[in-house]
Symmetry: C2
Subunit: 285 residues, 2 copies
């Protein structure tokens, strides 16, 4: 089938940008999707990526962004919640929209998400990572959003708008963009409670009954982003051609394992893009 | 044992320079040895190495050289003729000198050398790639130099100085630096003739009797540079950690296979340097 985008790249760090630059060089249509924040932006000084020295991580990211901009590549900001492999194409759930892609490159960096007790056990039975995907299941029911991602307030508003009885829990102050009619609790999710399905959440000094919990993180563990994706010690397993175990799905950069370094990420981004381009060409035959 | 250099890098292209930059970042002593010329220098335009765009290959090489210079890394020009693995260290024959190294990284690019008929059969039985290594074997005997490398005239002078009855064959005009007492033939080596050992060379319009042939190329096939090195289709076989089959010997860049691209070379240079540094640290325990 013909889909709107040849290569969707998840992640706007060095691996994702290198993949984008090389996909464009191969004449492929590309969308570069990235969440907020990047480890490199916080690096004090980077001296070991050939061609640049005595730059901060943020300065180097600007150089990289100049390059992608010069090639007409846009960084689309938002959170990729879910990727569905559908045999000959992929559906990517991004910031509430659905993107159809012939191939997908995961360049999602290192997931620093710490799993909450009860999360793995109750995933899919009351716990969701994607308000757009699963919101309708909680229409007329109680749900809470554990908001770690910058778009968590908007996602909570969305759940409220479709008739979910939703509360938001997050650290710090009530987000200004949160709909005033939605209750906000400043705190942290300590555990999810339930047997067959979610019954309540433990907020440390309070227990809150709920039917559903939306855990909205910036970083998503790779195996929860794509069902069936093979990982090893939390890193995505790839061949030397950056193929994952799912045909048409590639991975590059920190998410494939050590060394967690720019040069390695950039090199892998190139290889992933070349292989994805080849995959697209073959599929079009 | 304690040797003079932690990491000797053979090759001054992107892979070798990336390895050098990363070896220095790890606090290792480094020598970066490179022959003349590099494929990248001849690239018309490079757009797909993240951070740089609309640069010619030569301009990009200058950026890379600025980086290595800023870290105090010198490009030593000359030809590495032979690398001997000696168990716990290496001896590198470079421009007539011997360098002792704890580890070696091969970043020698793609060998474009076309093998001459008879060359593989008679290697080590009258054919040599290294005047300094094997010159003494031909003292008082006849030898010829097939000069493709810029230092071929000097190597011929050396053979002459130790008492070899040597002639030089090369394309084009007689090199000005060739000792006037040495016969020069403008031509090309078509084949080496012999059974158990070299008997003569075929120069197309003439056959010349000789005991030895020194074939001095810029690019040396990896397996002739290091005896016992495993290759596959002419490329050096490595693990994902850029280890070759010889402990302490690593490889990076075009010489390990496709894609023959800067980003891949730079990424592999990083990994090879990190692994070589680890190897040095372990050996010092």
């Amino acid at each position: 089938m013909s889909v709107s985008t040849d290569i969707v790249i998840i992640g706007g760090g060095p691996a994702g940008m290198s993949a984008a630059v090389n996909a464009v060089a191969r004449g492929k249509s590309v969308r570069l999707l990235s969440s907020e924040g990047n480890n490199l932006e916080r690096a004090e000084m980077v001296d070991n990526y050939l061609g640049f020295y005595k730059l901060t991580g943020a300065e180097l990211m600007l150089k990289f962004a100049e390059h992608t901009a010069a090639l007409g590549i846009t960084h689309e900001k938002g959170r990729a919640a879910n990727i569905m492999p559908l045999g000959d194409y992929f559906m990517v759930n991004f910031a509430g929209d659905i993107i159809e892609a012939a191939t997908v490159i995961l360049a999602i960096g290192v997931a620093k998400a710490r799993v909450v007790p009860g999360e793995e056990e109750l995933l899919g039975r009351g716990i969701s990572y994607c308000a757009t995907c699963d919101g309708m299941l909680y229409r007329g029911k109680k749900a809470m959003v554990w908001g770690l991602a910058p778009d968590a307030a908007e996602e909570t508003n969305f759940l409220n708008s479709i008739g979910v009885d939703v509360k938001m829990v997050a650290k710090g102050e009530r987000p200004s963009e949160l709909n005033p009619s939605i209750p906000f609790i400043s705190g942290a999710l300590k555990a999810v409670i339930g047997d067959d399905s979610v019954k309540a959440v433990d907020l440390g000094d309070a227990t809150l009954e709920t039917d559903g919990v939306f855990i909205l993180r910036n970083a998503i563990a790779p195996s929860t982003l794509v069902s069936g994706l093979e990982t090893e010690n939390g890193f995505i397993k790839t061949s030397t051609r950056m193929e994952t175990n799912i045909p048409g799905l590639f991975a590059a950069g920190d998410c494939t394992g050590s060394p967690l370094q720019i040069s390695k990420a950039v090199g892998e981004g190139l290889i992933a893009a070349q292989q994805a381009a080849k995959y697209v060409d073959k599929a079009k035959l």
